[in-house]
Symmetry: C2
Subunit: 204 residues, 2 copies
DNA sequence: TAGATTGTTAATCGATTAACAATC
DNA sequence: TAGATTGTTAATCGATTAACAATC
């Protein structure tokens, strides 16, 4: 049974937060404390954990380590997935830093770029390939997720190519709208649109 | 009357798209064509424009130039707003590039960073200041929007300071959750969470 | 008139939250 | 028992979309 989108978002955040919390050596946590740290409603926490199928205790709250494990099992589906970064400008570099410095269930195993300066070098241990290696590397390394940033090449062409090679999830950080076949999941974020929303709602 | 969030997002995208479309010298456009280019439902377009108070013609569709102007007036509230970037790592640089290369109603007029390499230089014409200038520059340049990226300093302290100086909209690109007083609008994007969502839903 | 399009309402769907029973 | 918390249902709210009248 598939979890709602927002529940998945929050579960991922509960886990991130609890990973740090557990060093406080408190073995249990109440929904209201978890909620306060994430600035959300405690009912959200309890409902999300109910959907996860995780139970707490009326007197002690939720077992921190068990909850971390339970979320990990559900979200990681047992094993980490391989991802790649396409386009190695500032956005691509920012993304790589985040994945290099933090434990996440996704492992970035390849970078693709057109610039001669980057190609054939490694960054945080991740090799950068030229664009014409896209198909080969994605297939060889069994990469299923792609983080798409502004690249010099035509995005539609890149998109068709990577989907043909086995990419089933794309995070599109460019301003270009992509037309995807069924079976490929898309997540998008457009900085420009976010700022315009901000400008509008901050003065309402 | 305040527009729904999603309508504001789409209006901003209609405008971006039409700015390019108008060079095709087609003075009018139908809702279905606009919708197809943005991969959305034509009803969305018509409903959004209804909420904007913009009318089309049954035979010709919508006047492109008039629609661009009408969205601009609504979203820009008459004048561009000043924004700043706090933290000038890769994320901050990626953002600056986007705002330098594209016309948007938001003008980035200051960058703040701790690194001696960046401070006192200008990037795409935008000056970079040291963090201790935050309060002064925000007040002097009448900056109301802030784009927050990972910085060395404590984010809670920065947040309290900039709100006291007049910031009313924050785009938080860090993984830290911010607690904001009423009257300050918040927009957030967390790359890690987005990738985890992608990993989960791409295999459902 | 027939066909295509706009404009608008009502139905549907998902996310949030109020309410409250059950439990410790 | 009283008080606090979990677990769950039902109500509410916002976003999407189906349906259709009005218009060219």
């Amino acid at each position: 049974m598939t979890l709602p989108e927002k529940t998945v978002e929050r579960l991922s955040q509960y886990r991130q937060l609890l990973m740090r919390y557990k060093y406080l050596d408190k073995p249990h946590i109440f929904s209201k404390d978890l909620a306060r740290m994430l600035r959300i409603n405690p009912v959200h926490v309890r409902r999300d954990l109910m959907l996860l199928g995780f139970s707490g205790s009326h007197s002690k709250g939720y077992d921190v380590q068990k909850l971390i494990d339970s979320i990990a099992i559900k979200l990681e589906c047992g094993a980490g997935k391989n991802g790649c970064i396409i386009g190695f400008g500032h956005t691509g570099r920012a993304a790589l830093e985040i994945f290099a410095e933090n434990f996440t269930p996704i492992k970035i195993v390849a970078i693709f770029d057109t610039s001669a300066k980057s190609v054939n070098n490694t960054f945080y241990g991740t090799p950068c390939y030229s664009m014409d290696k896209l198909a080969n590397v994605i297939e060889e390394k069994k990469i299923t997720l792609a983080l798409l940033t502004e690249a010099d090449e035509d995005l539609e062409t890149i998109k068709d190519l990577i989907i043909a090679c086995g990419i089933i999830g794309i995070l599109n950080l460019t301003h270009v709208k992509l037309d995807l076949p069924g079976g490929v999941y898309l997540e998008e974020f457009d900085l420009r649109t976010a700022m315009i929303k901000l400008a509008y709602f901050s003065t309402q």
